[in-house]
Point group: C2
Chain length 202, copies 2
């Protein structure tokens, strides 16, 4: 691996994006227990699950913000989801981003530019806990979740499912806030710290 | 920025390295208050401080470990330190790594291969708290600390100052352990999660 210079990420103001709504995208499970049970059934059929999520950056007041989907009043998640067996990660992430954030019209699809993988998390068992490494003695992890940087164009139209809210959350709100955002989302600021953000004003 | 494939980092067993001792390297300050006061004096003379630290990886039991220097009975730090005004980051990190970990003989200097910058932390004020971003409204941060991956060769000889202990600490011990290791070192597992470790057995 060779040394690379600090990488620059362009970010545009939240106000340069347009937001509409589309039909609801309901969660497949109504409880954590249901979700873990379905994960187990899928694992038996298809083996280790790979999921991919996108980190979409915007800026406000010269500080980077991340787009999160809020379900109900508290739970937040990154846009993304599970790959189909054998599906390419980049193509799968584009499919999931369109499903969660694009209008149904093919003419209004954002040009998703998938950047670097910034984090990987492993689920050793059919439980909610995940680790940023495959724990020792775990030879068959049940899921690997990969977080990719998504480079947004200067203008985009997003269509948000009616049952979800799209929030732009500043890095300083995520940092050290595991109670509110969980271990994966609350350490995104640390994973992005090596990038230099080019805040483009308009 | 273009997409890159998951990056591979070779790690060798701890047992492939040899450890000796050398003269003590005393801390310049005997208290946190002294350290912050000296930082302020240096800032007035030289402006923003840049410090560089190295993440040196080894493996044991097929799990990555990081080399940390322990001072006294509890405090751990990464090898590294402050750059001289105008000093190149990579050259400065090599100088600091040799000062902390190399024998005095020029013939025994490790071939330090500095890899990617994996994290940056900012100190907004003359206080101990640092953030993985420059906080909004801070136009003059007092310090920027950069963490670099250091690729070790298969064999090396390290000379550890007599007042310090060199520890190989597993990622699973660092993870979620801010009480023991502080915010910078305890989130190294998350920052390394995107790498694939190639555990070379011997």
């Amino acid at each position: 691996m060779k040394m690379v210079a600090s990488q620059v990420v362009n970010t545009y103001p939240l106000s340069s994006y347009t937001f509409g709504t589309k039909e609801p995208k309901m969660e497949k499970d109504t409880s954590v227990a249901d979700r873990l049970a379905r994960m187990k059934v899928n694992y038996m059929k298809e083996g280790v699950r790979t999921s991919v999520e996108g980190i979409l950056l915007v800026q406000e007041h010269n500080h980077p913000h991340i787009l999160l989907l809020q379900i109900g009043n508290t739970f937040c998640k990154l846009p993304g989801g599970r790959l189909k067996p054998g599906e390419n990660e980049i193509e799968g992430l584009k499919r999931k981003l369109s499903s969660k954030l694009a209008a149904n019209s093919p003419a209004l699809q954002p040009d998703w530019q998938i950047g670097e993988c910034v984090a990987m998390w492993w689920r050793p068992n059919f439980e909610t806990i995940m680790y940023p490494y495959c724990p020792p003695h775990i030879t068959k992890p049940k899921e690997c979740k990969k977080l990719y940087l998504v480079h947004l164009s200067e203008r985009e139209y997003f269509a948000v499912p009616k049952n979800l809210k799209l929030l732009a959350v500043p890095l300083f709100e995520l940092y050290d806030n595991v109670q509110r955002y969980g271990p994966v989302i609350s350490t995104i600021p640390q994973q992005l710290s090596r990038f230099q953000f080019n805040m483009i004003q308009q």
